[in-house]
Amino acid sequence: MFSSFMTNAWLVGTVVALLAGATGFFVVMRGSSFAAHAVPNGAFAGAAGATLVGVTPLVGLISFSVLAALGIGASRRHRSDVATALALVSMLALGAAFLSLSAAYEPQVDALLFGEILGVSSSQLGPVVVIAALCLAALAAMYRPLVFQAAAPDLAAARGLNPTVLEMGFMLTLALGAALTVPVVGALLAFSLTVGPPAAARLLTRRPGVALAGSMGLSVLTLWAAIASAYQSDLPVGFFVGTYSALVYVAARATMRRHARRA
């Protein structure tokens, strides 16, 4: 399980899980799971488009996920869920069109959607670590204003925090993170890690700092368990990431209920 060809999977997985845990903390706090689901799909369309035009996938990944994030962020004020849904279907439809025009073969599509963590090459490792570090730094810089805004939006606005600028900053970080995670764990599964473990961490503690650390820790544990299970059983990693993330949340709910009854 720890043989040399698995080293990259463990390394990349850990970096991706740390980032997903940190991003997810803010996603759950702000109630923007739908955006967190939609943006990686923008990245998927971008990768498909890059294949069609013949440029490096990373260019397509970043430009399209940023486009999706800005589109969703700009219309945050009124009926944001409708704007998110429309951005999501537009991106997926574009991706479908790119794919059928370029006649990419199916394993490529599956890899973009469900990820290919066991096939990560050493050359992919460097960019992943750099972009993840950038995103984590950006989140650290936005930590105080974002928590403040979530706790007391009116007060935060009165103190001069511009909600639109914050929203855009957060969405851009989300987009950059998505561009990074999509080729590794896939568009559909980058999302599971972003919601399950962070939601569990927030249930277990009220203090934001502890919740953030707990979210990153639970996310890493979830992914490690998923990689180990996938290695042992020969089933797709995505299945384990999805189910374990949901299980972590259900377990946290059960713990909460026991505590509440005892109190």
Partner: protein, 289 residues
């Protein structure tokens, strides 16, 4: 029909016939149900249920059950799980939907992997995600038609109380509307609708037809009946035209690679929304002048 609009052979093709009919029927129900989805800000749940239905469909394929049963039971189970996790507050609803969606995509990954092990035909993933109107059998057509009629009737019965409960839940409760029961019933109707549209159109189009036409209609109509009519008309037009454009696009390039139906329909839905916005903006400017 003029030749420049419709390429030859469109209407003589039986698969296209069935495809257009099913597309329009599903578009009509989706636009009617979606009106309430948009009003109740349940777009995320509406989209997630399509993905959950996809997991059900892939699972059914694995065990050799009817895919239709798989899609619909998957959606209903997903709706039940979302309700069980808790949907009282908007932010909780967001997380509940996200957790169910994450678990369902995990299951999809497993089922699709197992299906790909057992069968030699490729393209399952894309078929499940993007659907294919041209592969609908005529038996499916009748089932879809029947279920659609039942769904529309249920929604017609609960429409008024549901609208009341969506706009002001407290006032509705005071007037004796069983708010939570109506809400659960609506989520079920939405789940079956989405499951149905996900099997014939794929999960992408399912969301597009559920959210797009109602979003345009809500900017046009006044009153429930008028808005519902606009929504249904816009949805049906986008679905029918989308199939035609997709069919035509086969002849646009020398390579003969047709644009997928899902892309054409989504493009038309976005175009409708843009035109409606333009019209509203124009009207507002004229009023101001």
């Amino acid at each position: 029909m003029p030749h420049w609009l419709v390429e030859p052979g469109l209407w003589s093709n039986a698969a296209v016939h069935t495809g257009v009919t099913v597309g329009v029927v599903v578009a009509v129900v989706s636009a009617w149900v979606g009106l309430f989805t948009v009003l109740r800000s349940q777009s995320f749940a509406g989209h997630a249920l399509a993905d959950v239905a996809t997991a059900g469909g892939a699972g059914a394929g694995l065990f050799g059950w009817s895919p239709l049963a798989g899609f619909v039971s998957g959606a209903v189970l997903g709706a039940g799980a979302m309700e069980a996790i808790g949907v009282e507050r908007v932010r909780q609803r967001d997380v509940a939907t996200g957790v169910v969606l994450g678990a369902a995509t995990g299951l999809s990954a497993l089922f699709l992997y197992l299906v790909s092990l057992n069968s030699t035909n490729s393209g399952t993933t894309q078929l499940v995600l993007f659907g294919s109107l041209f592969l609908v059998s005529s038996t499916t057509l009748w089932i879809v038609l029947g279920v659609s009629v039942v769904l529309s009737l249920v929604l017609a019965v609960i429409g008024r109380p549901l609208l009341f409960a969506s706009v002001s839940p407290d006032a509705a409760r005071a007037r004796g509307v069983a708010v939570s029961r109506v809400a659960v019933l609506f989520t079920l109707v939405m789940a079956v609708t989405v499951g149905l549209s996900a099997i014939v159109l794929g999960s992408v189009l399912s969301t597009a037809l559920l959210i797009g036409p109602p979003a345009s209609a809500l900017r046009l109509g006044r009153g429930l009946a008028q808005t519902a009519f606009a929504s249904v008309a816009l949805g049906a037009a986008a679905a029918a035209l989308g199939v035609v454009v997709s069919y035509d696009s086969f002849y646009w390039w020398p390579s003969h690679r047709a644009l997928p139906v899902s892309f054409c329909v989504v493009a038309l839905i976005i175009l409708e929304l843009a035109l409606v916005n333009l019209w509203r903006w124009h009207g507002a400017r004229r009023e101001a002048a």
